[in-house]
Protein backbone atom coordinates (compact mmCIF):
# COMPACT_ATOMS: atom_id res chain seq x y z
CA UNK A 1 0.00 0.00 0.00
CA UNK A 2 1.48 3.29 -1.04
CA UNK A 3 0.47 6.37 0.86
CA UNK A 4 1.06 9.81 -0.55
CA UNK A 5 2.65 11.15 2.64
CA UNK A 6 5.68 8.86 2.30
CA UNK A 7 6.35 10.00 -1.27
CA UNK A 8 8.74 12.78 -2.26
CA UNK A 9 7.34 16.26 -2.75
CA UNK A 10 7.44 16.19 -6.56
CA UNK A 11 5.40 13.00 -6.63
CA UNK A 12 2.84 14.40 -4.24
CA UNK A 13 2.60 17.50 -6.41
CA UNK A 14 2.16 15.33 -9.48
CA UNK A 15 -0.60 13.35 -7.76
CA UNK A 16 -2.33 16.59 -6.83
CA UNK A 17 -2.12 17.97 -10.38
CA UNK A 18 -3.36 14.69 -11.82
CA UNK A 19 -6.32 14.66 -9.45
CA UNK A 20 -7.11 18.24 -10.34
CA UNK A 21 -7.02 17.42 -14.06
CA UNK A 22 -9.17 14.34 -13.60
CA UNK A 23 -11.63 16.25 -11.47
CA UNK A 24 -11.77 19.09 -13.97
CA UNK A 25 -12.43 16.70 -16.86
CA UNK A 26 -15.23 15.01 -14.92
CA UNK A 27 -16.63 18.40 -13.95
CA UNK A 28 -16.67 19.64 -17.56
CA UNK A 29 -18.39 16.48 -18.79
CA UNK A 30 -20.90 16.67 -15.96
CA UNK A 31 -21.50 20.33 -16.78
CA UNK A 32 -22.11 19.61 -20.45
CA UNK A 33 -24.60 16.83 -19.71
CA UNK A 34 -26.36 18.98 -17.09
CA UNK A 35 -26.69 21.96 -19.44
CA UNK A 36 -28.02 19.72 -22.24
CA UNK A 37 -30.47 18.04 -19.88
CA UNK A 38 -31.75 21.27 -18.36
CA UNK A 39 -32.21 22.90 -21.75
CA UNK A 40 -33.68 19.90 -23.52
CA UNK A 41 -35.90 18.32 -20.87
CA UNK A 42 -38.94 20.63 -21.12
CA UNK A 43 -38.86 20.20 -24.89
CA UNK A 44 -38.47 16.42 -24.66
CA UNK A 45 -41.42 16.24 -22.27
CA UNK A 46 -43.72 18.35 -24.47
CA UNK A 47 -42.53 17.38 -27.95
CA UNK A 48 -40.58 14.18 -27.23
CA UNK A 49 -42.75 12.01 -29.46
CA UNK A 50 -42.33 14.45 -32.36
CA UNK A 51 -38.59 13.92 -32.67
CA UNK A 52 -39.12 10.38 -33.98
CA UNK A 53 -41.05 11.67 -37.00
CA UNK A 54 -39.51 12.27 -40.43
CA UNK A 55 -40.19 15.96 -41.11
CA UNK A 56 -37.64 18.54 -39.96
CA UNK A 57 -39.15 21.98 -40.59
CA UNK A 58 -38.24 24.05 -37.52
CA UNK A 59 -39.92 27.09 -39.12
CA UNK A 60 -43.24 25.26 -38.92
CA UNK A 61 -42.65 23.65 -35.54
CA UNK A 62 -41.87 20.18 -36.90
CA UNK A 63 -38.83 18.65 -35.27
CA UNK A 64 -38.64 15.11 -36.68
CA UNK A 65 -35.10 13.85 -36.28
CA UNK A 66 -35.51 10.22 -37.35
CA UNK A 67 -33.88 10.67 -40.82
CA UNK A 68 -30.94 12.47 -39.22
CA UNK A 69 -30.46 9.83 -36.52
CA UNK A 70 -30.51 7.27 -39.31
CA UNK A 71 -28.18 9.45 -41.38
CA UNK A 72 -25.63 9.58 -38.56
CA UNK A 73 -25.78 5.81 -38.11
CA UNK A 74 -25.78 4.98 -41.84
CA UNK A 75 -22.78 7.16 -42.64
CA UNK A 76 -20.80 5.83 -39.67
CA UNK A 77 -21.68 2.15 -40.21
CA UNK A 78 -20.70 2.21 -43.87
CA UNK A 79 -17.49 4.03 -43.00
CA UNK A 80 -16.67 1.32 -40.47
CA UNK A 81 -17.50 -1.46 -42.95
CA UNK A 82 -15.11 0.13 -45.43
CA UNK A 83 -12.34 0.96 -42.96
CA UNK A 84 -12.24 -1.99 -40.52
CA UNK A 85 -11.31 -4.79 -42.97
CA UNK A 86 -8.63 -2.63 -44.58
CA UNK A 87 -7.15 -1.61 -41.24
CA UNK A 88 -7.20 -5.11 -39.71
CA UNK A 89 -5.77 -6.88 -42.75
CA UNK A 90 -3.11 -4.22 -43.24
CA UNK A 91 -2.07 -4.37 -39.59
CA UNK A 92 -1.81 -8.18 -39.64
CA UNK A 93 0.07 -8.14 -42.93
CA UNK A 94 2.56 -5.55 -41.68
CA UNK A 95 3.23 -7.42 -38.43
CA UNK A 96 3.55 -10.99 -39.72
CA UNK A 97 4.35 -10.74 -43.41
CA UNK A 98 6.23 -7.49 -43.95
CA UNK A 99 7.85 -6.59 -40.61
CA UNK A 100 10.41 -4.41 -42.38
CA UNK A 101 7.70 -2.14 -43.74
CA UNK A 102 5.92 -1.95 -40.40
CA UNK A 103 7.81 0.92 -38.82
CA UNK A 104 7.80 3.32 -41.80
CA UNK A 105 4.15 2.58 -42.58
CA UNK A 106 3.11 3.07 -38.95
CA UNK A 107 4.98 6.37 -38.88
CA UNK A 108 3.08 7.50 -41.97
CA UNK A 109 -0.18 6.29 -40.49
CA UNK A 110 0.44 8.21 -37.27
CA UNK A 111 0.95 11.31 -39.36
CA UNK A 112 -2.36 10.60 -41.15
CA UNK A 113 -4.10 10.27 -37.79
CA UNK A 114 -2.88 13.74 -36.86
CA UNK A 115 -4.34 15.53 -39.89
CA UNK A 116 -7.27 17.73 -38.82
CA UNK A 117 -10.65 16.46 -39.98
CA UNK A 118 -11.44 19.69 -41.83
CA UNK A 119 -8.56 18.91 -44.18
CA UNK A 120 -10.18 15.56 -45.02
CA UNK A 121 -13.45 17.41 -45.51
CA UNK A 122 -11.88 19.95 -47.82
CA UNK A 123 -10.29 17.19 -49.88
CA UNK A 124 -13.64 15.41 -50.01
CA UNK A 125 -15.44 18.56 -51.13
CA UNK A 126 -12.94 19.57 -53.81
CA UNK A 127 -11.88 16.13 -55.14
CA UNK A 128 -14.12 13.28 -54.02
CA UNK A 129 -17.54 14.95 -54.44
CA UNK A 130 -16.91 16.25 -58.01
CA UNK A 131 -15.52 12.81 -58.89
CA UNK A 132 -18.60 10.94 -57.65
CA UNK A 133 -20.70 13.63 -59.34
CA UNK A 134 -19.29 12.58 -62.73
CA UNK A 135 -20.69 9.07 -62.27
CA UNK A 136 -23.78 9.53 -60.15
CA UNK A 137 -24.92 13.09 -59.40
CA UNK A 138 -25.21 14.99 -57.15
CA UNK A 139 -21.95 13.69 -55.65
CA UNK A 140 -22.40 15.05 -52.15
CA UNK A 141 -23.83 11.92 -50.61
CA UNK A 142 -23.94 9.19 -47.98
CA UNK A 143 -21.12 7.43 -49.86
CA UNK A 144 -18.91 10.55 -49.96
CA UNK A 145 -19.37 11.00 -46.21
CA UNK A 146 -18.57 7.37 -45.48
CA UNK A 147 -15.46 7.40 -47.68
CA UNK A 148 -14.08 10.52 -46.00
CA UNK A 149 -14.84 9.08 -42.55
CA UNK A 150 -13.27 5.74 -43.55
CA UNK A 151 -10.08 7.57 -44.48
CA UNK A 152 -10.07 9.17 -41.05
CA UNK A 153 -10.79 5.91 -39.23
CA UNK A 154 -8.28 3.63 -41.00
CA UNK A 155 -5.13 5.09 -39.34
CA UNK A 156 -6.43 4.78 -35.78
CA UNK A 157 -8.06 1.40 -36.35
CA UNK A 158 -4.76 0.19 -37.82
CA UNK A 159 -2.80 1.41 -34.80
CA UNK A 160 -5.29 -0.21 -32.40
CA UNK A 161 -5.13 -3.53 -34.26
CA UNK A 162 -1.35 -3.41 -34.35
CA UNK A 163 -1.22 -2.83 -30.60
CA UNK A 164 -3.75 -5.61 -29.96
CA UNK A 165 -1.67 -8.09 -31.97
CA UNK A 166 1.50 -6.88 -30.24
CA UNK A 167 0.04 -7.69 -26.83
CA UNK A 168 -0.50 -11.36 -27.70
CA UNK A 169 1.97 -13.60 -25.81
CA UNK A 170 4.78 -14.82 -28.04
CA UNK A 171 4.05 -18.40 -27.00
CA UNK A 172 1.01 -18.56 -29.32
CA UNK A 173 3.24 -17.87 -32.26
CA UNK A 174 5.92 -20.29 -31.01
CA UNK A 175 3.40 -23.06 -30.41
CA UNK A 176 1.90 -22.46 -33.83
CA UNK A 177 5.30 -22.70 -35.46
CA UNK A 178 6.09 -25.87 -33.50
CA UNK A 179 2.88 -27.38 -34.84
CA UNK A 180 3.94 -26.36 -38.36
CA UNK A 181 0.84 -24.23 -38.90
CA UNK A 182 1.02 -22.03 -41.97
CA UNK A 183 1.29 -18.30 -41.24
CA UNK A 184 -2.12 -17.64 -42.72
CA UNK A 185 -3.66 -20.51 -40.76
CA UNK A 186 -2.07 -19.33 -37.54
CA UNK A 187 -3.30 -15.78 -38.10
CA UNK A 188 -6.80 -16.88 -38.98
CA UNK A 189 -7.28 -19.59 -36.34
CA UNK A 190 -5.17 -18.38 -33.43
CA UNK A 191 -3.86 -14.82 -33.46
CA UNK A 192 -6.79 -12.81 -34.84
CA UNK A 193 -9.42 -14.65 -32.75
CA UNK A 194 -7.34 -14.09 -29.60
CA UNK A 195 -6.92 -10.41 -30.37
CA UNK A 196 -10.49 -10.00 -31.64
CA UNK A 197 -12.06 -8.48 -28.49
CA UNK A 198 -9.38 -5.81 -28.27
CA UNK A 199 -9.60 -5.09 -32.01
CA UNK A 200 -13.39 -4.89 -32.00
CA UNK A 201 -13.29 -2.72 -28.88
CA UNK A 202 -10.94 -0.30 -30.62
CA UNK A 203 -13.04 -0.28 -33.77
CA UNK A 204 -16.20 0.45 -31.76
CA UNK A 205 -14.42 3.46 -30.27
CA UNK A 206 -13.76 4.64 -33.83
CA UNK A 207 -17.47 4.26 -34.50
CA UNK A 208 -18.06 6.76 -31.72
CA UNK A 209 -15.58 9.08 -33.35
CA UNK A 210 -17.31 8.73 -36.72
CA UNK A 211 -20.67 9.54 -35.13
CA UNK A 212 -19.26 12.68 -33.55
CA UNK A 213 -17.42 13.94 -36.62
CA UNK A 214 -18.99 17.15 -37.83
CA UNK A 215 -17.15 19.44 -40.23
CA UNK A 216 -15.84 16.85 -42.69
CA UNK A 217 -19.28 15.25 -42.88
CA UNK A 218 -21.01 18.61 -43.22
CA UNK A 219 -18.82 19.43 -46.20
CA UNK A 220 -19.45 16.26 -48.23
CA UNK A 221 -22.81 14.75 -47.24
CA UNK A 222 -25.19 17.17 -48.98
CA UNK A 223 -27.14 17.76 -45.74
CA UNK A 224 -30.63 17.10 -47.13
CA UNK A 225 -32.97 15.82 -44.41
CA UNK A 226 -34.38 12.65 -45.97
CA UNK A 227 -34.30 8.87 -45.84
CA UNK A 228 -31.59 8.02 -48.39
CA UNK A 229 -32.77 5.66 -51.14
CA UNK A 230 -29.22 4.74 -52.13
CA UNK A 231 -25.64 5.38 -51.05
CA UNK A 232 -25.52 8.13 -53.70
CA UNK A 233 -28.32 10.12 -52.06
CA UNK A 234 -27.49 13.07 -49.81
CA UNK A 235 -28.10 12.72 -46.07
CA UNK A 236 -27.84 14.99 -43.06
CA UNK A 237 -26.28 13.79 -39.82
CA UNK A 238 -27.25 15.03 -36.35
CA UNK A 239 -23.88 16.69 -35.89
CA UNK A 240 -24.08 18.48 -39.25
CA UNK A 241 -27.57 19.66 -38.32
CA UNK A 242 -26.33 21.19 -35.09
CA UNK A 243 -23.41 22.90 -36.84
CA UNK A 244 -25.59 24.19 -39.71
CA UNK A 245 -28.43 25.58 -37.63
CA UNK A 246 -27.29 26.26 -34.06
CA UNK A 247 -25.94 29.73 -34.74
CA UNK A 248 -29.19 30.68 -36.44
CA UNK A 249 -31.66 28.97 -34.14
CA UNK A 250 -33.88 30.58 -31.53
CA UNK A 251 -36.62 29.34 -29.22
CA UNK A 252 -37.83 25.77 -29.65
CA UNK A 253 -35.61 25.26 -32.67
CA UNK A 254 -32.56 25.87 -30.50
CA UNK A 255 -33.83 23.57 -27.78
CA UNK A 256 -34.47 20.84 -30.36
CA UNK A 257 -30.81 21.08 -31.33
CA UNK A 258 -29.81 20.69 -27.68
CA UNK A 259 -32.00 17.61 -27.55
CA UNK A 260 -30.22 16.15 -30.56
CA UNK A 261 -26.90 16.79 -28.79
CA UNK A 262 -28.22 14.84 -25.81
CA UNK A 263 -29.18 11.99 -28.15
CA UNK A 264 -25.64 11.92 -29.53
CA UNK A 265 -24.11 11.76 -26.06
CA UNK A 266 -26.42 8.87 -25.16
CA UNK A 267 -25.45 6.89 -28.27
CA UNK A 268 -21.75 7.58 -27.73
CA UNK A 269 -22.07 6.51 -24.09
CA UNK A 270 -23.58 3.18 -25.08
CA UNK A 271 -20.80 2.62 -27.62
CA UNK A 272 -18.13 3.48 -25.07
CA UNK A 273 -19.52 0.95 -22.61
CA UNK A 274 -19.62 -1.70 -25.35
CA UNK A 275 -16.00 -0.94 -26.12
CA UNK A 276 -14.98 -1.28 -22.44
CA UNK A 277 -16.78 -4.61 -22.21
CA UNK A 278 -15.03 -5.99 -25.27
CA UNK A 279 -11.59 -4.82 -24.25
CA UNK A 280 -12.14 -6.12 -20.72
CA UNK A 281 -12.79 -9.55 -22.22
CA UNK A 282 -9.45 -9.67 -23.96
CA UNK A 283 -7.56 -9.22 -20.70
CA UNK A 284 -9.80 -11.29 -18.47
Amino acid sequence: MITTSSLPLSDRLLALVLRLCGGLAALVLGGIVTVLLVRALPFLVSEGAGIWKSTWQPGQGEYGMAPMIAGSLFVSVLALLLAAPVAILLAAWLRYFAPRLRRPVLAGVELMAGIPSVVYGLWGMLVLVPWINQWVPPGASWLAGSLVLALMIVPLALLVTDAALGQLPLRYQRAGEALALSRVGMLRRVLLPRAAPAIVGGVVLQFGRALGETMAVLMVCGNVVQWPDSVFAPVRTLTANIALEMAYATGDHRVALFASGLLLIAVTGVLLMASWRLRGMSHG
Binding site: C21, P137, N223, Y248
Partner: protein, 269 residues
Amino acid sequence: MLSRLQCSLGLMVAVFLAGCGESGSAITVSGSSTIAPLMAELAERYETETGIQVDVQSGGSGRAIADVRQGLADLGMVSRALKEDEQDLEGYLIGRDGIAIIVNSANPVRALSDDQIRAIYTGKTQRWESGPGEGRDITVVHKAQGRSTQELFLAYFQLENSQVQPDQVIGENQQGIKAVAGDPFAIGYVSIGTAIYEAENGTPIRLLPLEGAPASLAVLAQGNYPLARELNLVTHGAVSQPVADFLAFVTRTDMADVYHDYYFLPAVE
Protein backbone atom coordinates in the same frame (compact mmCIF):
# COMPACT_ATOMS: atom_id res chain seq x y z
CA MET B 1 6.40 15.23 -17.03
CA LEU B 2 5.47 17.68 -14.35
CA SER B 3 6.24 20.67 -16.50
CA ARG B 4 4.19 19.30 -19.33
CA LEU B 5 1.25 18.84 -17.05
CA GLN B 6 1.66 22.32 -15.69
CA CYS B 7 1.78 23.62 -19.23
CA SER B 8 -1.44 21.92 -20.26
CA LEU B 9 -3.12 23.02 -17.05
CA GLY B 10 -1.96 26.56 -17.64
CA LEU B 11 -3.27 26.41 -21.18
CA MET B 12 -6.67 25.21 -19.99
CA VAL B 13 -6.87 28.04 -17.49
CA ALA B 14 -5.84 30.50 -20.19
CA VAL B 15 -8.58 29.26 -22.52
CA PHE B 16 -11.05 29.47 -19.65
CA LEU B 17 -10.12 33.06 -18.90
CA ALA B 18 -10.13 34.05 -22.55
CA GLY B 19 -13.71 32.78 -22.74
CA CYS B 20 -14.73 34.84 -19.74
CA GLY B 21 -12.78 37.99 -20.53
CA GLU B 22 -15.31 40.51 -21.77
CA SER B 23 -14.08 43.99 -21.11
CA GLY B 24 -16.80 46.48 -20.27
CA SER B 25 -15.79 49.31 -22.59
CA ALA B 26 -15.83 47.30 -25.85
CA ILE B 27 -18.72 47.47 -28.30
CA THR B 28 -20.18 44.08 -29.24
CA VAL B 29 -21.68 43.50 -32.68
CA SER B 30 -23.22 40.16 -33.66
CA GLY B 31 -25.30 38.72 -36.48
CA SER B 32 -25.39 38.19 -40.24
CA SER B 33 -22.45 36.31 -41.74
CA THR B 34 -22.96 38.43 -44.88
CA ILE B 35 -22.22 41.69 -43.06
CA ALA B 36 -19.66 40.32 -40.59
CA PRO B 37 -16.51 40.56 -42.82
CA LEU B 38 -17.37 44.18 -43.72
CA MET B 39 -18.09 45.03 -40.11
CA ALA B 40 -14.82 43.42 -38.96
CA GLU B 41 -12.92 45.68 -41.36
CA LEU B 42 -14.85 48.77 -40.23
CA ALA B 43 -14.28 47.78 -36.60
CA GLU B 44 -10.56 47.53 -37.19
CA ARG B 45 -10.45 51.01 -38.71
CA TYR B 46 -12.51 52.37 -35.86
CA GLU B 47 -10.12 50.84 -33.36
CA THR B 48 -7.04 52.37 -34.99
CA GLU B 49 -8.78 55.75 -35.11
CA THR B 50 -10.27 55.87 -31.61
CA GLY B 51 -8.70 53.01 -29.66
CA ILE B 52 -12.15 51.69 -28.77
CA GLN B 53 -12.43 47.96 -29.26
CA VAL B 54 -15.28 46.53 -31.33
CA ASP B 55 -15.98 42.76 -31.20
CA VAL B 56 -17.69 41.34 -34.28
CA GLN B 57 -19.33 37.91 -34.07
CA SER B 58 -20.96 36.09 -36.97
CA GLY B 59 -24.07 34.00 -36.46
CA GLY B 60 -26.93 35.07 -38.69
CA SER B 61 -29.59 37.76 -38.68
CA GLY B 62 -31.86 35.75 -36.39
CA ARG B 63 -29.11 35.59 -33.81
CA ALA B 64 -28.61 39.35 -34.11
CA ILE B 65 -32.23 40.02 -33.18
CA ALA B 66 -32.08 37.64 -30.21
CA ASP B 67 -28.74 39.02 -29.01
CA VAL B 68 -29.70 42.70 -28.99
CA ARG B 69 -33.02 41.90 -27.33
CA GLN B 70 -31.23 40.02 -24.56
CA GLY B 71 -28.55 42.69 -24.30
CA LEU B 72 -25.80 40.26 -25.32
CA ALA B 73 -24.80 42.57 -28.16
CA ASP B 74 -24.89 46.36 -28.49
CA LEU B 75 -25.54 46.20 -32.20
CA GLY B 76 -27.06 43.48 -34.36
CA MET B 77 -26.22 42.95 -38.05
CA VAL B 78 -29.40 42.08 -39.95
CA SER B 79 -29.11 41.50 -43.69
CA ARG B 80 -32.79 42.11 -44.49
CA ALA B 81 -35.52 44.63 -43.72
CA LEU B 82 -36.96 44.43 -40.22
CA LYS B 83 -40.13 42.35 -39.88
CA GLU B 84 -43.49 43.29 -38.40
CA ASP B 85 -42.74 41.66 -35.06
CA GLU B 86 -39.38 43.39 -34.79
CA GLN B 87 -40.68 46.93 -34.39
CA ASP B 88 -39.30 47.09 -30.83
CA LEU B 89 -35.88 47.44 -32.46
CA GLU B 90 -34.33 50.51 -34.04
CA GLY B 91 -32.87 49.85 -37.50
CA TYR B 92 -30.11 51.82 -39.21
CA LEU B 93 -29.71 51.18 -42.94
CA ILE B 94 -25.98 50.98 -43.74
CA GLY B 95 -25.98 49.41 -47.20
CA ARG B 96 -27.55 47.16 -49.81
CA ASP B 97 -26.81 43.72 -51.19
CA GLY B 98 -28.44 41.37 -53.66
CA ILE B 99 -28.82 37.64 -54.05
CA ALA B 100 -27.48 36.13 -57.26
CA ILE B 101 -28.59 32.88 -58.88
CA ILE B 102 -25.43 31.04 -59.93
CA VAL B 103 -24.66 28.08 -62.19
CA ASN B 104 -21.39 26.43 -63.19
CA SER B 105 -19.64 28.25 -66.05
CA ALA B 106 -19.57 24.98 -68.05
CA ASN B 107 -23.38 25.18 -68.09
CA PRO B 108 -24.58 26.84 -71.34
CA VAL B 109 -27.70 28.29 -69.69
CA ARG B 110 -27.64 32.12 -69.93
CA ALA B 111 -30.92 33.00 -68.32
CA LEU B 112 -33.79 31.44 -66.43
CA SER B 113 -37.19 32.99 -65.79
CA ASP B 114 -38.55 33.23 -62.26
CA ASP B 115 -41.05 30.48 -63.08
CA GLN B 116 -38.29 28.21 -64.34
CA ILE B 117 -36.26 28.75 -61.17
CA ARG B 118 -39.35 28.07 -59.07
CA ALA B 119 -39.96 24.85 -61.03
CA ILE B 120 -36.37 23.75 -60.51
CA TYR B 121 -36.41 24.41 -56.78
CA THR B 122 -39.75 22.67 -56.22
CA GLY B 123 -38.62 19.62 -58.19
CA LYS B 124 -41.11 20.07 -61.07
CA THR B 125 -38.17 20.45 -63.45
CA GLN B 126 -35.69 17.67 -62.71
CA ARG B 127 -33.29 17.87 -65.65
CA TRP B 128 -31.52 20.44 -67.83
CA GLU B 129 -33.36 20.68 -71.14
CA SER B 130 -30.66 21.84 -73.54
CA GLY B 131 -26.94 22.00 -74.15
CA PRO B 132 -24.28 19.46 -73.18
CA GLY B 133 -26.00 18.93 -69.85
CA GLU B 134 -29.23 17.89 -71.59
CA GLY B 135 -31.05 15.19 -69.68
CA ARG B 136 -28.69 15.42 -66.68
CA ASP B 137 -30.18 15.79 -63.23
CA ILE B 138 -30.10 19.32 -61.85
CA THR B 139 -28.25 19.56 -58.53
CA VAL B 140 -30.34 21.99 -56.50
CA VAL B 141 -28.22 23.78 -53.88
CA HIS B 142 -30.26 25.31 -51.08
CA LYS B 143 -29.38 27.15 -47.88
CA ALA B 144 -29.99 25.90 -44.35
CA GLN B 145 -32.82 27.16 -42.18
CA GLY B 146 -32.55 30.57 -40.53
CA ARG B 147 -30.20 32.37 -42.94
CA SER B 148 -31.50 35.63 -44.29
CA THR B 149 -30.32 34.70 -47.81
CA GLN B 150 -32.64 31.72 -47.66
CA GLU B 151 -35.57 33.69 -46.20
CA LEU B 152 -35.24 36.32 -48.90
CA PHE B 153 -34.93 33.77 -51.68
CA LEU B 154 -38.05 31.94 -50.48
CA ALA B 155 -39.99 35.19 -50.08
CA TYR B 156 -39.07 36.44 -53.57
CA PHE B 157 -40.05 33.17 -55.25
CA GLN B 158 -43.09 32.80 -52.95
CA LEU B 159 -42.03 29.40 -51.71
CA GLU B 160 -42.32 27.61 -48.39
CA ASN B 161 -39.16 25.89 -47.22
CA SER B 162 -41.02 22.56 -47.18
CA GLN B 163 -41.79 22.90 -50.92
CA VAL B 164 -38.11 23.06 -51.86
CA GLN B 165 -36.58 19.75 -53.00
CA PRO B 166 -32.84 20.29 -52.53
CA ASP B 167 -30.00 17.96 -53.50
CA GLN B 168 -27.57 19.73 -51.24
CA VAL B 169 -28.05 22.02 -48.27
CA ILE B 170 -25.23 24.38 -47.43
CA GLY B 171 -24.39 26.87 -44.72
CA GLU B 172 -22.01 29.63 -45.68
CA ASN B 173 -21.86 31.45 -49.04
CA GLN B 174 -18.41 29.98 -49.70
CA GLN B 175 -19.71 26.43 -49.36
CA GLY B 176 -22.44 27.22 -51.88
CA ILE B 177 -19.92 28.61 -54.34
CA LYS B 178 -17.69 25.53 -54.00
CA ALA B 179 -20.71 23.26 -54.50
CA VAL B 180 -21.68 24.97 -57.76
CA ALA B 181 -18.08 25.37 -58.96
CA GLY B 182 -17.50 21.64 -58.50
CA ASP B 183 -20.65 20.47 -60.26
CA PRO B 184 -21.43 21.45 -63.89
CA PHE B 185 -25.12 20.66 -63.38
CA ALA B 186 -25.70 22.57 -60.17
CA ILE B 187 -27.71 25.70 -59.48
CA GLY B 188 -27.52 27.75 -56.31
CA TYR B 189 -27.95 31.22 -54.84
CA VAL B 190 -25.52 33.29 -52.80
CA SER B 191 -24.84 36.88 -51.84
CA ILE B 192 -24.23 38.89 -55.05
CA GLY B 193 -21.02 40.44 -53.67
CA THR B 194 -19.44 37.09 -52.90
CA ALA B 195 -20.49 35.70 -56.29
CA ILE B 196 -19.07 38.64 -58.28
CA TYR B 197 -15.81 38.49 -56.33
CA GLU B 198 -15.39 34.75 -56.89
CA ALA B 199 -16.38 34.90 -60.59
CA GLU B 200 -13.86 37.70 -61.19
CA ASN B 201 -11.15 35.67 -59.50
CA GLY B 202 -11.54 32.68 -61.78
CA THR B 203 -13.98 30.47 -59.87
CA PRO B 204 -16.01 28.63 -62.56
CA ILE B 205 -19.42 30.08 -61.80
CA ARG B 206 -21.80 32.32 -63.77
CA LEU B 207 -24.31 34.77 -62.36
CA LEU B 208 -27.69 34.57 -64.09
CA PRO B 209 -29.82 37.66 -64.72
CA LEU B 210 -33.16 37.84 -62.91
CA GLU B 211 -36.15 38.81 -65.06
CA GLY B 212 -33.79 40.50 -67.53
CA ALA B 213 -31.84 42.44 -64.90
CA PRO B 214 -28.15 41.45 -64.93
CA ALA B 215 -26.68 40.55 -61.54
CA SER B 216 -24.26 43.46 -61.21
CA LEU B 217 -23.54 46.17 -58.69
CA ALA B 218 -24.44 48.90 -61.20
CA VAL B 219 -27.95 47.50 -61.68
CA LEU B 220 -28.27 47.04 -57.93
CA ALA B 221 -27.24 50.67 -57.40
CA GLN B 222 -29.97 51.85 -59.78
CA GLY B 223 -32.48 49.93 -57.71
CA ASN B 224 -33.37 47.74 -60.69
CA TYR B 225 -32.21 44.39 -59.34
CA PRO B 226 -35.30 42.58 -58.04
CA LEU B 227 -33.74 40.24 -55.47
CA ALA B 228 -32.07 42.89 -53.31
CA ARG B 229 -31.91 43.32 -49.58
CA GLU B 230 -31.11 45.90 -46.96
CA LEU B 231 -28.11 45.65 -44.68
CA ASN B 232 -29.12 46.98 -41.28
CA LEU B 233 -27.61 47.56 -37.90
CA VAL B 234 -30.18 47.27 -35.14
CA THR B 235 -30.29 48.40 -31.53
CA HIS B 236 -32.68 47.71 -28.67
CA GLY B 237 -33.60 50.43 -26.19
CA ALA B 238 -31.44 53.43 -25.38
CA VAL B 239 -28.29 53.90 -27.47
CA SER B 240 -25.15 54.69 -25.45
CA GLN B 241 -22.77 57.40 -26.66
CA PRO B 242 -19.94 55.00 -27.75
CA VAL B 243 -22.45 52.98 -29.82
CA ALA B 244 -23.88 56.15 -31.40
CA ASP B 245 -20.34 57.26 -32.27
CA PHE B 246 -19.62 53.92 -33.93
CA LEU B 247 -22.91 54.10 -35.88
CA ALA B 248 -21.93 57.55 -37.16
CA PHE B 249 -18.50 56.20 -38.10
CA VAL B 250 -19.72 53.25 -40.23
CA THR B 251 -22.06 55.50 -42.25
CA ARG B 252 -19.43 58.16 -42.93
CA THR B 253 -19.04 58.93 -46.65
CA ASP B 254 -15.29 58.20 -46.65
CA MET B 255 -16.05 54.63 -45.59
CA ALA B 256 -17.75 53.94 -48.94
CA ASP B 257 -14.58 52.32 -50.29
CA VAL B 258 -14.71 49.66 -47.59
CA TYR B 259 -18.24 48.75 -48.66
CA HIS B 260 -17.15 48.56 -52.29
CA ASP B 261 -14.26 46.27 -51.31
CA TYR B 262 -16.85 43.78 -50.09
CA TYR B 263 -19.12 44.37 -53.10
CA PHE B 264 -21.83 46.09 -51.09
CA LEU B 265 -23.48 49.41 -51.82
CA PRO B 266 -23.16 51.87 -48.95
CA ALA B 267 -26.41 53.57 -47.99
CA VAL B 268 -24.67 56.96 -48.19
CA GLU B 269 -22.68 57.47 -51.39
